[in-house]
C-alpha cells in the first residue's frame, strides 16, 4: 500500500513538473495563439464539457473509433488463428499484414474518403490500424505455444473446451493484452487524425480542424486533452475487462 502511494505521489509530481514548465513557457511566450497556458486549457475544457455539442462529438468519434477497434480485434484474432492453423493462409496474408502495418494513415484516410465517404472514416481507419497489430501479436503468441502442453492435454484427455481455455487461452491472453493496449491508443490517434483530414460533421476531428482554422489554440489543446483522457479511459476500461478475464482463466 505504502509503495503504491509513493508511486502515485511520484507520478503526480512528474505531471506537476510538466504542467509548471508548460505554464512558464506559455507565460514567457505571452501569446494565446502560439501556446495556451494549462490554466486556460483546463478552463476551456470545462466550458466545452457542458455544451451539448461536446457529448455529441465525443459519442460520434468514440463510437466509430471503438467500433473500428472491435472489428479490428475480431478480424486480427480470426486471421491469427487461421494463419496459425493453415500454412497457406499465413503465407497469403503475410504481405497484406506487412503492407497494412507500414501504409501511412494519411494514405489510408484518403483512400477511405474515396471509397466510403467521410462519415464512417474513423471506423475504417481504426479497423485498418488495429487488425495488423492484433494479428501479428496473436500470431506470435500462437507460435510460442508449447507443443508439449498439447501432448500433455492429449495424455490426460482434457476436454476440448477446457483445453482451449486452460491450455491455449491462458497462454494467449498476455499477447492479446499487449496487442489491445497498443491498438486502442493507436486507434484513437489515427481515428482522430483521419477525422481532421475528412472533417465529418459532428466529429472531434472537425472540432480540432475548426480550432486550427480560427486559431483557437485553447480549443485545440482542450480537445486534444479530451482525446487523451478518452483514450486513456478506454484503455483502462478494456484492460480491466481483460484483467478480469485473465484472472478467471488463471483460476479456472
Amino acid at each position: 500500500m505504502k509503495k503504491r502511494i509513493k508511486k502515485a505521489a511520484v507520478t503526480a509530481a512528474c505531471i506537476l513538473f510538466w504542467l509548471i514548465l508548460w505554464q512558464l513557457v506559455a507565460m514567457k511566450l505571452n501569446s494565446r495563439f502560439l501556446l495556451a497556458s494549462p490554466v486556460e486549457v483546463i478552463k476551456r475544457l470545462f466550458e466545452l464539457v457542458i455544451t451539448p455539442d461536446f457529448l455529441q462529438s465525443v459519442m460520434f468519434s468514440a463510437g466509430r473509433i471503438l467500433l473500428g477497434f472491435a472489428l479490428g480485434m475480431t478480424a486480427g484474432c480470426t486471421l491469427a488463428l487461421l494463419s496459425g492453423k493453415v500454412r497457406i493462409i499465413r503465407t497469403l496474408f503475410s504481405p497484406l499484414i506487412s503492407a497494412m502495418k507500414s501504409v501511412p494513415v494519411a494514405s489510408i484516410t484518403i483512400l477511405a474518403l474515396i471509397w466510403a465517404g467521410s462519415k464512417n472514416l474513423s471506423v475504417f481507419v481504426s479497423f485498418l490500424i488495429s487488425t495488423p497489430i492484433v494479428c501479428s501479436n496473436m500470431l506470435e503468441g500462437i507460435d510460442s505455444l508449447d507443443p508439449k502442453l498439447k501432448e500433455m492435454s492429449r495424455v490426460f484427455k482434457i476436454p476440448l473446451w477446457k483445453r482451449f481455455t486452460g491450455v491455449y487461452l491462458s497462454q494467449m491472453l498476455p499477447y492479446f493484452r499487449a496487442a489491445s493496449r497498443l491498438a486502442i491508443g493507436l486507434c484513437w490517434k489515427s481515428g482522430v487524425a483521419a477525422e481532421v483530414i475528412g472533417i465529418p460533421q459532428g466529429s472531434i476531428g472537425r472540432k480540432l480542424y475548426e480550432s486550427k482554422i480560427y486559431l483557437e489554440t485553447a480549443d485545440l489543446f482542450a480537445w486534444t486533452l479530451a482525446v487523451i483522457i478518452l483514450s486513456w479511459l478506454c484503455e483502462k476500461l478494456f484492460m480491466l475487462l481483460v484483467g478480469i478475464l485473465q484472472k478467471r482463466v488463471e483460476r479456472m
Partner: protein
C-alpha cells in the same frame, strides 16, 4: 494379468541404438520401476509405452480407452494458471477445494494453491505436476523421474505421500535412484 504389453521394442537415434528388443508384460496393480543410468533410453521407453513416440520396431499393446496419467520429464504445467487450476484442468471439479488444500499440504505446498505456476520454484512445480498426476483418474500412471529437483527432506515426504496414493494402482516409473526403487517398486527392470 498384464495390462500393458511391450514386444520387441527397438529404437535408435541415428547410429545410437537406445532400445534393442525390449519386451515386457506390465502387471495390473503393480509398481514397476525402470532403472538405468542417464541416456540409457528410460524416458524413450516410457514415451513409447505412453504412445508419445513410435518404436522403430515392435509393438505396445494397451487396452483401448485406458485412462493414463503422467509426470513427464519436464513439468508441463500451464505457467499462467494457478497451481490448483493446473490440477483442476485434469481432475475437473470432482475434488473439493478443502480436500485439494489438504493434498497440497501433504506435499509441503500449503498456501501455494492460488499462486500462478510461473511464480513457483522448480521443486514446487515438480510437486504440482506430481499432484496433478496422482489425483487424476487413471488406469496406468507413468512417472518419469518424478522426484527430480527435490531436496532430500522434501523428497522423503513426497515419496511417502506417493506410495500411499498409488497403493494398488498400475504404475510404471523411470528412475536412476536405487533407493526410490526399493521404496516404491514391486518389480524392477534394469536397462
Amino acid at each position: 494379468m498384464g495390462i500393458l504389453k511391450a514386444e520387441n521394442i527397438r529404437k535408435q537415434f541415428g547410429e545410437n541404438v537406445v532400445l534393442n528388443g525390449f519386451s515386457h508384460e506390465f502387471k495390473e496393480g503393480g509398481v514397476t520401476a525402470i532403472l538405468g543410468k542417464s541416456g540409457c533410453g528410460k524416458s524413450t521407453l516410457l514415451n513409447i509405452l505412453m504412445g508419445l513416440q513410435s518404436p522403430d520396431e515392435g509393438s505396445v499393446q494397451l487396452p483401448e480407452n485406458a485412462k493414463i496419467a503422467a509426470v513427464f520429464q519436464e513439468n508441463r504445467l500451464c505457467e499462467n494458471l494457478t497451481a490448483s487450476a493446473n490440477i483442476r484442468l485434469v481432475t475437473g471439479k470432482k475434488i473439493p477445494r478443502e480436500t485439494l488444500s489438504k493434498e497440497f499440504g501433504a506435499v509441503g505446498l500449503s498456501g501455494s494453491e492460488n499462486k500462478p505456476a510461473r511464480t513457483l520454484s522448480g521443486g514446487m512445480k515438480r510437486r504440482v505436476a506430481l499432484l496433478r498426476a496422482v489425483l487424476s483418474e487413471y488406469d496406468i500412471l507413468f512417472l518419469d523421474e518424478p522426484f527430480k529437483g527435490l531436496d532430500s527432506e522434501t523428497k522423503d515426504e513426497v515419496l511417502h505421500y506417493v506410495k500411499e496414493k498409488i497403493r494398488g494402482k498400475t504404475v510404471i516409473f523411470v528412475t536412476h535412484d536405487e533407493g526410490e526403487c526399493k521404496f516404491l517398486a514391486d518389480e524392477v527392470i534394469r536397462l
